[in-house]
């Protein structure tokens, strides 16, 4: 595709911009390997820099009660609380619990929506990791059904 070269150039330019703009988390954009390789929900949350885990109704998890297919399960995390460092989405019974980590930013609302794979019916967690080291969470069970002819 003719856009290939263009794309690469632009990527380099963006990386430069990110570094120059003085956003350390952007410039490094380091992938938190430990958190994404954690097998359990608490381990994954702690690996993102949280010390204490607290259930909170100020963290909003958006997910369906039932998913027709585990390959694509819509889920979102949001909160109106101030002092958020980053937001997480996790699926308890997935082999690796952490799905996504969104860094909080001045320019964004703390509100993200994506879609994840789920191997089976499981609790889904939305977490807000706060600047003070607290991890505030909300959870919900999402049922994954068997679909189609099973063939």
């Amino acid at each position: 595709m003719q856009t290939r070269r263009e794309t690469l150039q632009r990527s380099v330019a963006v990386a430069g911009l990110l570094a120059a703009a003085g956003f350390p988390q952007f410039a490094q954009a380091a992938f938190n390997k430990t958190a994404f390789e954690a097998k359990s929900v608490p381990d994954a949350i702690k690996a993102t820099g949280a010390a204490t885990l607290l259930e909170s109704k100020d963290v909003i998890l958006t997910a369906p009660d039932i998913a027709e297919n585990g390959a694509v399960v819509p889920m979102g995390v949001s909160t109106a609380l101030p002092g958020v460092k980053h937001l997480l989405l996790l699926v308890e019974k997935n082999p690796l619990a952490l799905v996504a980590l969104f860094h909080s930013s001045e320019s964004l609302e703390n509100n993200f929506l994506t879609r994840a794979k789920m191997g089976q019916t499981s609790d889904v967690y939305a977490v807000a990791v706060m600047a003070d080291g607290k991890a505030l969470w909300a959870k919900k069970e999402v049922k994954v059904t068997l679909g189609g002819c099973g063939g």
Binding site: L8, V14, P74, L101
Partner: protein, 103 residues
């Protein structure tokens, strides 16, 4: 080679909702092929976005994000005509950037 993303950015009030579809396999690293060999993980690892060149979004993804991923986020202070650029980078080092104009 990666196919283009589809980015839609819709302004409402003093913010814009950005919806992105990315073309990616998002292989989990848990699946076995026909010969019984584990298919290695291949997934988008970092997603970043800029508003008129200024960084706004930074996210990290694991292999559990669905194939051909969808992402929605809300940019404060974005208005019609502004440029939103989204970049993803996967664990094999491939990357792709696409741009859209806020409507």
């Amino acid at each position: 080679m990666a196919d283009p993303m589809r980015i839609r950015a819709q302004a409402a009030g003093d913010k814009a909702t950005v919806r992105v579809l990315m073309s990616h396999e998002m292989e989990t690293g848990q699946r076995k092929d026909a010969a019984g060999k584990i298919v290695p993980a291949w997934h988008i690892q970092e997603v970043t976005a800029t508003l008129n060149g200024k960084p706004v979004l930074s996210a990290e993804w694991g292999p559990s994000v669905s194939k051909n991923p969808f992402l929605q986020f809300v940019v404060k202070g974005a208005k019609a005509g502004d440029k939103i650029a989204v970049t993803w980078k996967d664990n094999k080092g491939d990357s792709r950037t696409d741009e859209a104009t806020v409507a």
